[in-house]
Symmetry: C2
């Protein structure tokens, strides 16, 4: 900046004025400074600006797994929602590990991010309230606001589970399994409860998803599921359903003749699987967009914390069928 000032024959503060309040500088001077900036290829130093109190354009996004297509699309919504305000997304994955989440929250605070959008891995929100209290706005994603003093974007997960359960009941199913993981994120736990309340006999199946992928774990769980003799299985998401279809095919179990399958998320491939997957759809891009808007609103004068709530929708396809007698 000093160099720009020298070349333009003005003082640093005039250069600063051209950058921050161009209206206050004489047109002729402004032009000279602009030319100097272009000639030198001057790029302002964000760190120095921040130190002077200008808010950072960076927003932290803490998700469970960026490689998961659901989260990837949510993040794209966040990115686009923030882009209008010139903000950038610092994207992090926790793999559902509370300690990783704690570490990331620390790092983000240190970076003075404008705010944090988080799908919590830790069941206790105390940590998040503390971050918020310290001055970094926090928006919950895929988590209900309840009485928390934070903004939240939520999907009615229990309803999603119930929709799947009621659909299966109507088809005559009574023994229904839920394929989840040994440790599930909040939304999956809430779906399970919604399903449990909607069905007769509920069979809880848990996968250990450590080393292999979710799909492989689901394929490997096929035998255990079949042994329980359910007539239908609801999976924690479409990827698990995909793997389960694989595993069932290997066992010679026909879907939906022998077993009905329901997925969750309605990823683009769901409609083209063999058989086309019945699933529960939830908005993805819109979730991210809403979270971005809530976060941007945090800075504004009359801001009050609020919740934006989305409804899931059952999409019936060919992987579920009426129970044969």
């Amino acid at each position: 900046m000093r160099e720009v000032a020298r070349v333009a024959g003005v003082s640093v503060s005039t250069v600063a004025n051209v950058l921050s309040r161009p209206g206050i500088v004489a047109p002729e001077t402004r032009l000279r400074v602009q030319q100097a900036i272009d000639r030198i290829g001057y790029v302002p130093n964000g760190a120095a600006r921040q130190l002077r109190g200008v808010p950072s354009p960076i927003v932290g996004s803490v998700t469970l797994d960026l490689a998961n297509p659901f989260h990837a699309e949510v993040n794209r919504g966040i990115e686009d929602g923030l882009a209008a305000a010139g903000c950038l997304v610092l994207a992090c994955s926790t793999d559902l590990r509370p300690d990783t989440e704690t570490r990331l929250l620390h790092l983000l605070q240190q970076q003075n991010v404008r705010g944090i959008i988080i799908s919590p891995a830790h069941p206790d929100p105390a940590q998040l309230l503390e971050v918020s209290r310290r001055g970094t706005p926090v928006v919950l994603l895929d988590h209900p606001k309840e009485r928390l003093d934070l903004c939240a974007v939520a999907v009615d997960d229990a309803l999603g589970g119930r929709l799947a359960g009621e659909h299966l009941r109507e088809l005559g199913h009574r023994r229904i399994a839920y394929l989840g993981a040994t440790v599930d994120p909040g939304p999956v736990t809430r779906r399970r409860e919604g399903l449990r309340q909607a069905v007769g006999e509920f069979l809880d199946v848990r996968m250990d998803v450590h080393p292999p992928s979710l799909g492989e774990a689901a394929a490997a769980a096929a035998g255990r599921i079949v042994a329980l003799e359910p007539t239908a299985v609801v999976c924690l998401n479409d990827t698990a359903a995909l793997g389960l279809l694989d595993g069932l095919a290997a066992l010679g179990v026909r879907v939906p003749e022998d077993l009905s399958i329901v997925g969750y998320d309605d990823l683009p491939f769901a409609r083209r699987l063999a058989p086309a997957l019945t699933t529960v759809s939830q908005p993805k891009y819109q979730l991210g967009l809403a979270a971005a808007e809530l976060l941007l609103d945090e800075g504004r004068p009359g801001h009050a914390h609020r919740e934006v709530r989305f409804q899931p929708q059952l999409v019936v396809r060919a992987s579920t069928a009426a129970l044969a007698h």
Copy 2:
């Protein structure tokens, strides 16, 4: 920090020492300072640190579209590769728009990021060389190094196209279409050329992918493709192949009996489509991991720019078949 010093009864520089060079501080003093830090809940200010020359832990990742499962997984590889060094990923999508890319590069430089990993949208790398020359390391992703003075992670795209073409030739196909977009990223263009060189009659089909999704555009292109009377179609990626299968089903065209289809990327769903998709697999997570490693190496003493090259692999499934006579 001053507050911590006051509480611990030491000077700010002692606090600084505890944070940056703990070994130099007397254990007793160190403990007192640590306790003060915990009690106050002090969080260091990254901006101030940066201003003093400590490198930023943030790395920019500029991709074409974070919501694309291929890029999402690449980014996850980047994230994990950088995590070991305590770095965070600022993830951006360009949607293949050169002006967006330019804007993002500017923003990233302003943030003094440690480096930038980029899948270029702009065909001319001049801009990237300039960024690198100015002191922000740049690693090319999904782009060959060639004579550029940058590190690069590349996949042999032409080979990928050739593999698809040779597979189809062996099955007796001669009229082969390539389904791409009106404006394709570099890798897709290179695959097209590889395919063109491997087949007899090459039919170039371009989709306009602006408002709807790639899958929908591909479904809509089914009619145009059929009119060209190819016996096989290679798609720019699996998502397009998925859409095309949809469109063909609506037209009553059977795959592979009437038309063979080849995808690209081998996304998890490819093996479970109806029919299971023949596709060209390329490493995704590994690409990101390699890029992260190259970037981290940029800071080290004897660093020399180099290219890490991956080979694509043909995965034959049920969507391609020998040409009936």
